[in-house]
Amino acid sequence: MNKTAKKISRRSVLKLLAGGSISAALGAPTIVFAQSRRYAKLADTFRCIGCKRCMSACQRWNGLEMDRYELITDRNTDLTANSWVVVNLRADSDNRTQRHYQHWACQHCERPACAGVCPVTAITKLPQGPVVINENKCIGCRYCYQACPFKIPRFDFEKRVTRKCHLCYNRTPLLNYMKPACVAACPVGALAFDYRHEIVKEAQRRVRRLKNPSYIMGLSEAGGTDMITILPAKPKNMGLVVAPKKVVNHTLDKIRISASGFAAASVIAGAMYQYSNTDQHRDKEKHEGED
């Protein structure tokens, strides 16, 4: 045996075990997904013609109750439990002459905040990329909506559960190289579906070829998402939700916040102990008076 080889000490094993258990307790994502095998969707606002075939394809494939009026209007339509994908006509607030149709749906975050707060683990991030709600497990508390940095999940008042786009994980199941319904229906190539690194490359290539100023959303928003959108301006100027450029609802942050409550509880318990001492002083004084 090589004498120079570093010995594995008991301390180092214990450190490793402690580190492993702490990282497990901190809730490192249960699924370790390989970056290169994860899929993503691309939405190109410059190419979108607003035909809304993506909306109808999504509704048809997922058996959603279609509101035909939404498919023919240019009025602002919001996501609902039965419209998981919407296309809206939006303008850059700095340059209102240029208007673009913009495809909006769940952004499928790399570290989804919704999955971190769901009390019954009904929301999971699949290794292939989609963030999926198990409707048979959902309790309908709507905490995912509160936690979502993009405010995507919608409550279904009939089914009494929360629903949202699942990137057609049940269609493909993304392994058969089939595209999600919305991507397959797009007639002009404004939507694309591939491995995430390929999609990012494609988005950068398209942006380079554009003469107009543009912004790629999804590279760093909420710590990175599996939906990449090419926008003519920053999300705030387009009237979209502005997500912070970091992982939202990080477990360490949650521990820090809750710890403040426990620290305050200790202070209150100390104050109560001091207050209870006044009682003992009174009793003592009373007894001394009686003596």
Partner: protein, 450 residues
């Protein structure tokens, strides 16, 4: 048979004639509970949309009411620790009332949240099978359930001696039931044989179990466990909101702390109001030591209101200088909800009752203490509503149809069915307290009995 019914009816009519106010009160509460039942059935038959319709504000009045009631209950749990854990004799005499109030408030508070959920029947199953330890709701639910069990045990330990006394005085089936509840010897009744057959007798009357139950240290241990679980559950309730990073008004380490302080002042206010109203409704004079405690509690409440006010001011002033929180802070101070904030949260919950309580405690006015406590409770309800609903109204996105038009804010007003359900659950809580007050030994005992 007919004679029996006649006798029963006559007895009921006599009871109503004897105390008509009590029965009118019960009838009003029962009517509201029926309305809530109607709203619940309608929501099941038609759609849940008739209760809570907003997609942008999914947590509305039901969640505000839940927060208000459960925080009151947790505050009572903390106050109970003064007597039960820290051994303050003057608080110990109120233990039974405090524990019973804490139990009922949290039970009915949890009813609010269960009816707010889309699928409440799945909670128990999936929170047990697949809990998410990273979710504050999961911790909160589990801790409140544990707390409820511990508080039931604590209350039973507190009233066990009274149950034994009542069992000894009663006869027939009442004696059997009270004896069973107090775990007394039932050898003179038929139930004893049934327990024997079910192999329960060996467990229920095991000498070791009774040795533990009779140990004078046990109530303190149980009260300590209740205190720890109650405070932990309350902290996690504050964390439910404080963890939501995308809600600027809720996010941060401030709210778990403020929930603890607000639990204390709302708990004190509820205890003062419930005790004074109970004695007035019964037409009885308070024992002098209880009266002294009431004025002391009023002073403590005024102090806690001042602490709460300092915390609120700190939050708002620091919010004005924080670029992330400036928007929501100005929204509360100057936005559409600002009249409610200044009138209810500042005026009715902090400044006016604070002064009123100090003056009443000095002048020994029970009426003033009652008015101050009720003001705190009403103001705190509005404060919770502003916190829950206002936190969601402040927009994450600023949609406007045109640059020159104002921002469109999500709008919300409770539906009539929602109001029915909320009033019904509050009535259920009041009914439970009224019946508890009538049939359970909640009355304060002097320090020598406690």
């Amino acid at each position: 048979m007919k004679a029996k019914i006649d006798k029963g009816l006559r007895a009921s009519l006599e009871a109503i004639e004897h105390s008509p106010r009590f029965y009118v009160w019960l009838s009003v509460l029962a009517a509201f509970i029926l309305l809530a039942g109607y709203a619940l059935v309608a929501s099941l038959v038609l759609s849940m949309e008739i209760l809570e319709f907003s997609l942008q504000i999914p947590w509305a009045t039901m969640v505000s009411a839940y927060t208000w009631l459960v925080v009151v209950g947790s505050g009572l749990c903390i106050i109970n620790a003064l007597g039960g854990v820290f051994g303050m004799h003057r608080y110990e005499m109120m233990s039974k009332r405090i524990v019973f109030l804490s139990l009922t408030t949290i039970m009915f508070g949890l009813m609010f949240i269960m009816l707010h959920l889309g699928r409440p029947e799945r909670v128990a199953i999936y929170n047990a099978i697949s809990p998410n330890f990273r979710s504050a709701i999961s911790w909160m639910g589990s801790l409140y359930n544990i707390y409820l069990v511990v508080v039931v045990v604590e209350f039973w330990l507190l009233i066990r001696s009274n149950l034994t006394e009542q069992a000894e005085q009663a006869e027939g089936w009442k004696r059997t039931i009270l004896g069973l509840l107090a775990l007394q010897d039932l050898s003179d009744s038929r139930l004893d044989g049934i327990l024997e057959k079910l192999h329960l007798k060996r467990f229920l009357y095991h000498p070791r179990l009774h040795r533990i139950l009779d140990d004078p240290r046990l109530p303190r241990v149980v009260a300590s466990v209740a205190f720890i679980t109650g405070v932990a559950a309350l902290t996690m309730l504050g964390s439910v909101f404080a963890h939501a990073e995308s809600r600027a008004l809720w996010y941060g380490p401030y709210y778990p702390v403020y929930f603890l302080v607000s639990a204390l002042f709302t708990g004190y206010a509820a205890l003062l109001a419930a005790t004074i109203i109970t004695y007035r409704a019964r037409g009885e004079e308070m024992p002098p030591e209880l009266k002294t405690l009431m004025f002391e509690m009023a002073q403590v409440l005024a102090l806690l209101l001042a602490v709460g006010f300092v915390l609120t001011s700190y939050r708002l002033v620091t919010g004005l200088f924080d670029p992330l929180r400036q928007g929501p802070t100005l929204f509360i101070l100057k936005g559409p909800l600002s009249p409610s904030f200044w009138i209810f949260e500042v005026g009715l919950m902090s400044v006016v009752p604070g002064l009123l309580l100090v003056i009443s405690a000095r002048k020994k006015s029970v009426g003033g203490v009652l008015a101050g406590s009720l003001m705190v409770l009403v103001g705190a309800f509005v404060m919770r509503y502003l916190f829950v609903v206002g936190g969601q109204i402040y927009p994450n996105v600023f949609p406007r149809l045109s640059a020159d038009l104002p921002i469109i804010l999500p709008s919300y007003l409770p539906t009539i069915m929602e109001v029915f359900l909320i009033v019904g659950i509050f009535s259920g809580f009041l009914l439970a307290y009224t019946l508890g007050e009538k049939f359970l030994p909640l009355k304060e005992e002097g320090p020598e009995h406690a």
